[in-house]
Symmetry: C2
Subunit: 258 residues, 2 copies
């Protein structure tokens, strides 16, 4: 699938319910968070204080499901492959649409996703292992707390890509151009220092092989709000399923610096 | 005055009530917006949609007046030189403290100010005319509307600095490093195309001379929320007086890219 519209349609009709890395290359991908109005302001403050894991691409008006600024014509209730529903911090359901859960007091947030800069990594000659393997990116809960806001607190989540040691500087400079989709890595090597006990057992997504001469490179991840939800227990929250992102109409270059 | 704390104290004791350009060089300066909780979420969405005029440095918890993240120890009710009070979109009062106006439901926003990058401009050999003249920076209402959010809509406001034509590219690259304090200019030359009828009659601040061979360069300005307030008429809003900014404890480099 080459365009955002093709992916939206495939999700809406049930033809695609798998991870989105590599789909519609050149278009920015986004994490989804949906909260009732009462919790939405606290959440937007949380994102403002933690722009590395939660760079906000769009906050929709209350009750609206069409992202008019970043993906006109799409519907956030149907156009992602998979959703997760949290009640009081517990994951109660995973499903492929949320039409019957929608309410007039809900506020939807689109948060930048690091899948966006993977085309730039590939163009620069860097490997993206989970695309090579055809699986989901590995994601880990870390020991780095977010700056809290209102009712919300919790750990930063990271995604990991193994990079050959001599290409790690290039991975930093290439991704630093994209602060709206997590930007430069937050940690390079030494998973233990991030509180990751076993790099082969990610908390979300799939394990990927790290070849000899490669270093694990960690980027802040938009699954952070889900880790925050588990810790902070808001009454009701809907998100995308990790790795199953929303494709926006923004070109990668529109979310890049300069 | 060299440090933020010296400026806070001078404002609090009444020893300083004038514009802040050039004070505490090397520390980031900020615009202030204070709104009741009911309007604060709409305003934060407005800022998220319009990051050039309204780059958010900190959103305080409701009822708090100490910016714990960007200026611990300061008090936003007393530590700016001058405040403006708007009721239903009308400027009703200018004063040097807001202690008796403070309420438990107020939310304070600190928004980046272009005074922050003026040290970088000076260090790069660029003139900053209003500092040379010892007056306030000229600011203009433009014909460029902000992307609206909830109850808020209104025009973008710009600040203007005259730059010698051969140094204009340098002015762009130097300030582009500072997106959190308005970043690169939004318009160069041609004031009429921005809807500015007379460059010698700014809407806020003071007119400055434009010398032969100089081009007026326009940066998005944190007075935009005041123009928005005039148009959108929220019941109650407090801001800084244009040019009379809050000095944060953040070093310029902490709000710069890279």
């Amino acid at each position: 699938m080459k365009t955002p519209n093709e992916v939206w349609t495939a999700c809406r009709t049930g033809a695609w319910d798998r991870p989105t890395a590599g789909l519609a290359p050149g278009y920015a991908q986004a994490n989804l968070v949906i909260l009732p109005r009462d919790d939405a302001f606290d959440f937007l403050r949380l994102a403002q204080r933690n722009p590395k894991p939660m760079p906000v691409l769009e906050v929709l008006e209350m009750g609206e499901s069409e992202p008019r600024l970043t993906a006109p014509g799409a519907d956030l209730r149907t156009d992602l492959p998979r959703y997760r529903v949290y009640r009081n911090g517990e994951l109660v359901e995973e499903r492929t649409e949320i039409i019957d859960l929608w309410r007039g007091d809900l506020v939807a947030f689109l948060i930048g996703c690091s899948f966006t800069f993977e085309k730039a990594l590939l163009d620069a000659g860097l490997p993206v292992r989970h695309i090579q393997c055809g699986c989901n990116v590995p994601m880990y809960r870390t020991n780095r707390p977010c700056v809290p806001a209102g009712r919300f607190s919790g750990p930063t989540v990271v995604s990991m890509r193994p990079i050959p040691a001599h290409l790690v500087p290039k991975a930093v400079t290439v991704t630093a151009r994209f602060p709206a989709v997590h930007g430069a890595p937050i940690h390079i090597g030494e998973p233990e220092a991030l509180g990751i006990a076993d790099i082969n057992k990610p908390d979300w997504g799939d394990a990927v092989p790290i070849n000899p001469g490669e270093v694990p490179v960690f980027w802040a991840c938009g699954v952070t709000p889900q880790a925050v939800a588990i810790q902070s227990r808001p009454p009701f929250m809907i998100t995308h399923a990790p790795g199953h992102m929303f494709i926006t109409s923004l070109l990668d270059d529109q979310v890049a610096n300069g």
